[in-house]
């Protein structure tokens, strides 16, 4: 059952159909910066009530992990005037299958700025860093110009809108590493260090950028903040799936007729998204598999998506995760071994190399999957792959090893016959442990 209600008549709010919304004057004409104005110029709001409103909205992070945003904001320690604190907006979107933040950065950048300012107000932050993937070069140039305009208008900078709230926004360009999207890596990268993830604890709210309290939110998450203030947390909580509410940008790619980014409530039926929103399977082919939330989330077989909706609970039951809601759709002609080969190549290429299991394991996984894909694999390679996945999962500083292991584990688990068909017949029985006694 769809939890998205009357989604066919859904009115877009994150990316409304307004021409030139990326320009400040157009954004202003469409209630732009009104949420910030309301917070700063009326008595209705203080930092606590802003955080409470976000908590009330039930907003969960859109960057992949789905952590409740209001709760995250409340982790910041009490304000100490001598200790700076920072906000980081994570725009280092680079997982295969995920391409929704770039739409916001391109078409509605001021909503991200406004969201950053609201979050900064709620947490008493005076500097927000917008860390953007370096490959988004064109939009970065454009956003810098728009940010300049916002500064000129007094929306950003000292004493915003005449209030005593001051906050700067700094746009920081990434240098092209997937790992920089990991929050502690992002902080190291921002500091000018090598982007190795940090050990947690301490968490960013205790020791973040340059050792000071820091909160890191995804672009889409922060873009929701002005909507929540403008329309109220209850309004937001009423959109889509109850336990995972709000509007979501679905990035649909693969073998569908109309791939693209679509804004709809959470809790959309996957089948609705494929067959109605994205115009159905390309060439009328049959659906074979889909990855619901970016390449690291477990792949689902076509027979596993009946009645499954795009929200954390439903996807967990189905055996996958919401992730970043970047959906990879694959039709019946897809070679799942070849698909996995591409995914393992990505994680091999992007492992930062800090921790042993990930540094060595990702390459080994790619080696074996490539061998199977080229018809040179053995049946026992499948067991070895599973073994390597268990050797990597949960044994590294950050979650990249898990993100690399899960696609392997679940793709083999759910499409084992395809892998076996590509393997050479083996004299060694499957499951035999040859070396590791």
């Amino acid at each position: 059952m769809s939890k998205a209600g009357d989604w066919r008549n859904y009115k877009r709010v994150l990316l409304p159909p307004v021409k030139d919304l990326h320009k400040l004057d157009v954004y202003e004409a469409h209630e732009g910066y009104s949420a910030l104005r309301e917070i700063l110029t009326t008595d209705k709001w203080d930092p606590t009530s802003v955080t409470d409103e976000v908590k009330k909205s039930g907003l969960k992070g859109r960057g992949g992990a789905g952590f409740p945003t209001g709760l995250k904001w409340s982790f910041m320690p009490p304000i100490d005037p001598d200790v700076p604190r920072f906000l980081c907006c994570n725009g280092d979107e680079s997982e295969p299958g995920t391409f929704k933040d770039r739409q916001l950065l391109e078409y509605n950048p001021h909503s991200v700025f406004e969201g950053m300012l609201i979050a900064s107000y709620a947490m008493g932050i005076k500097t927000g860093f917008l860390y953007i993937r370096g490959e988004f070069a064109d939009w970065i140039t454009h956003m810098e110009a728009e940010l300049e305009k916002a500064y000129d208008k007094g929306y950003v900078g000292k004493n915003i809108m005449g209030s005593d709230f001051s906050c700067d926004i700094v746009i920081h360009k990434g240098a092209g590493a997937y790992i920089c999207g990991e929050e502690s890596s992002l902080m190291n990268s921002l500091e000018g260090k090598r982007a190795y993830p940090r050990i947690k604890p301490p968490f960013p709210a205790q020791k973040g950028v340059w050792g000071y309290p820091t909160t890191i939110n995804n672009v889409e998450t922060l873009a929701c903040a002005p909507l929540i203030i403008r329309n109220g947390g209850e309004w937001y909580a009423g959109i889509g799936a109850q336990s995972h509410p709000g509007p979501v940008l679905y990035g649909i790619s693969g073998h569908v007729n109309r791939p693209g980014v679509y804004e709809y409530p959470t809790g959309m039926l996957i089948s609705d998204l494929i067959y109605e929103v994205a115009g159905g399977m390309r060439g009328g082919k049959k659906l074979k598999a889909l990855v619901p939330g970016g390449s690291s989330t477990p792949v689902l077989r076509a027979d596993m998506i009946d009645g499954v909706t795009m929200d954390a609970d439903s996807l967990r039951e189905a055996g996958s995760m919401m992730g970043t809601s970047g959906m990879l759709i694959m039709d019946e002609d897809t070679d799942m071994v070849s698909f996995l080969r591409r995914i393992t190549h990505f994680y091999h290429h992007e492992s930062c190399g800090q921790c042993t299991p990930c540094r060595e394991g990702t390459g080994w996984l790619e080696n074996i999957v490539t061998r199977i894909d080229e018809g040179e694999g053995n049946l026992r390679d499948l067991d070895l792959l599973m073994d390597l996945c268990s050797q990597m999962e949960g044994r590294t500083v950050c979650a990249l090893a898990d993100a690399a292991a899960w696609p392997v584990r679940y793709t083999i688990d759910r499409f084992r016959d395809e892998f076996e068909a590509k393997c050479k017949p083996s004299l060694v029985p499957s499951g035999a442990d040859l070396v590791m006694a």
């Binding site: 590493a177 090598r194 190795y196 050990i199 091999h348 290429h349 992007e350 492992s351 930062c352 190399g353 800090q354 921790c355 042993t356 299991p357 540094r359 060595e360 394991g361 990702t362 390459g363 080994w364 080696n367 061998r371 070895l384 050797q391 949960g394 044994r395 590294t396 500083v397 040859l434 070396v435 590791m436 006694a437």
Partner: protein, 572 residues
């Protein structure tokens, strides 16, 4: 007191401790690579994984929940934890590879990963034999490898700087070297470049890894990725004996090991002493070892002609006898031990001369407030405490030129090279010289030349710039029989090669020289002054008992780590 249970054994502890260090200190041999006690714990090698649990607490009361027998219920963390980055807490329960199959398996898995792209060129690797990766692979690793692909190739034999060579393929990316330059030496000359499995340490563009402490990364490298340009391929670790002693290059007296093969010093490595040099050794302290091997004299000479030791003692005594004590200049030495300087002072006293002086060898600006000091001698502080004070070359030159001196008795120094006088200036003066090397320029003017055992061949005491009295041990043998030296050599390396009872023993490169505590009593005896000691141990006992500046500095008290003497207010 808070307690922690490790493998069902309960320990008490106080204060804040990292779990890994506590385990290592208490005999739990947890494998690890990236952790080093002097640096931050990045937890990147993932080798020290353990299971960690905490007592379950009742949510409502905060009391520790217990089972029927009254034992606390333990809630284990869902993932294995790196013990290096884990702080200990009261009631913590830890399971290591000794009690947990899961941990055992995880350690084996990590080692399998570490080895797949490691070149496994142990037979030609300098680190083999003292390689943490090799040792831990044997102890905890898998029996073989399931890796059937070409290993990753990375740059090899790269000169990172003038003294350190990198083999990128051997590197396991523990980042110890990078953290050393960042956190300890603060030169920031190394970083990791590339990404993922291609990672290796490298200098930033245009930077040479030439800091004065660069060679420490060779010791802390847990594999053979970083090797010494000076030492690589010279000797296998098992062909050398190592002797715990003290560096002679500066006044800091850094603790070190001398590595000896065929009676030649092959390399010098740091020895941990938290009161002196912690874990480190400056490059100059490692590289100035050739003086122990090269240009060494072969037996005593009189007027340039080789003689027996007995004749040499006699000749030296003849130079002194019948001369008015005030016309004899005794030159002590900050290169020589406390014992030898003490005997020299005794001899000066016996012949009625004034107390010896020594020539300071100070190089302004050389020190860095850490291990390198302006003073380039190891024992100036010891001389001062004995009442042997520094005399400038100008003063001595003036005294010589004024014709005040008939006999110059030099212990282990080089007045000509130090600018006191020229060889010609010494023409009318009798010169007795105890010397280390044939490069000693005073040698040409010496009437009697007595080769002296160097710091790596003798037994004695140095007092460092901070007043830390430390023992020297003989790392290599000298020609001839000396019971004290043989005993000391045997004591500190009974099971290692180098002793006459060892199959590796050989008699090449033995230097015909004598320690000061043999030579000086022999000369004194020939003069008719008895200075009979059983050996340097007894001399030091006498010094520590008679001189308050050496209170407590007996051999047994000094042991391997030395004793801190009370400050005398005297600075060398």
């Amino acid at each position: 007191m808070p307690t922690i249970t490790i493998d069902n054994q309960t320990f008490e502890f106080e204060g804040q401790h990292g779990l890994l260090q506590f385990c290592l200190d208490n005999g739990v041999d947890l494998p690890h690579f990236c952790y080093h006690p002097a640096m931050s714990a990045p937890a990147n090698c993932r080798q020290c994984l353990v299971e960690v649990g905490m007592p379950q607490r009742d949510r409502a009361t905060g009391e520790i929940s217990t089972d029927e027998d009254g034992n606390p219920l333990i809630q284990f963390m869902p993932k294995l934890q790196t013990s290096c980055s884990m702080q200990m807490a009261d009631g913590m329960v830890v399971q290591t590879h000794r009690s947990s199959e899961l941990v055992k398996r995880a350690q084996k898995d990590t080692l399998e990963f570490l080895l797949i792209n490691h070149p496994l060129d142990c037979p030609i690797c300098d680190q083999a034999g003292h390689c943490p990766l090799q040792n831990q692979a044997y102890k905890h690793g898998p029996e073989g490898s399931r890796f059937e692909f070409e290993k990753v190739h990375k740059p090899k034999h790269i000169d990172l700087g003038p003294r350190v060579v990198l083999d990128g393929e051997r590197c396991i990316n523990c980042t110890r070297c990078v953290r050393f330059t960042r956190e300890v030496s603060k030169s920031d000359q190394l970083t990791i470049i590339e990404r993922g499995v291609k990672n290796y340490p490298m200098t930033p563009p245009g930077v040479e890894f030439n800091e004065p402490y660069s060679m420490n990364v060779i010791d802390i490298c847990p594999v053979g990725a970083l090797t010494s340009k000076d030492h690589r391929f010279k000797a296998r670790i098992w062909e050398m004996s190592k002797t715990a002693s003290v560096s002679t290059v500066g006044a800091k007296g850094s603790n070190c090991y001398y590595w000896v093969k065929d009676n030649q010093i092959m390399k010098v490595t740091p020895r941990t002493n938290m009161d002196v040099n912690e874990f480190w050794l400056a490059d100059e302290e490692r590289l100035e070892y050739r003086k122990f091997n090269e240009d060494r004299p072969d037996g005593p000479t009189v007027e340039g002609a080789p003689v027996s030791w007995e004749l040499a003692w006699k000749a030296a005594a003849d130079c002194l006898s019948g001369v008015d004590g005030s016309r004899i200049l005794f030159l002590g030495s900050a290169w020589a031990t406390v014992e030898d300087n003490y005997l020299l002072a005794k001899m000066a006293d016996a012949v009625g001369a004034s107390a010896p002086v020594y020539l300071p060898h100070v190089e302004e600006g050389h020190g860095d407030g850490w291990l390198r000091t302006d003073d380039r001698t190891p024992n100036a502080q010891g001389c001062e405490r004995l009442g042997i004070h520094a005399a400038s070359a100008q003063d001595l030159k003036a005294r010589l030129e004024a014709g005040e001196i008939d006999v110059l008795y030099v212990m282990e120094d080089d007045p000509v090279a130090s600018g006191v006088c020229s060889v010609a200036d010494l023409a009318g003066i009798k010169v007795v010289l105890h010397h280390y090397n044939t490069t000693n320029q005073t040698l040409q003017a010496a009437d009697v030349a007595l080769p002296a055992a160097m710091a790596v061949e003798t037994v004695g005491t140095f007092v460092n710039v901070d007043g830390h009295a430390q023992r020297l041990r003989p790392a290599k043998a000298i020609a001839g029989v000396n019971r004290t030296l043989s005993m000391e050599i045997g004591k500190c390396r009974a099971d290692r090669h180098g002793t006459p009872f060892d199959k590796w023993y050989n008699e090449s490169n033995l230097i015909n020289c004598q320690p000061g505590w043999v030579a000086l009593p022999a000369v004194a005896a020939a003069l008719g002054h008895e200075m009979t000691y059983k050996g340097p141990k007894q001399i030091m006992e006498e010094v520590s008992a008679s001189n308050p500046a050496f209170k407590g500095a007996t051999y047994s008290a000094m042991g391997e780590l030395g004793v801190r003497l009370e400050s005398t207010g005297v600075t060398a």
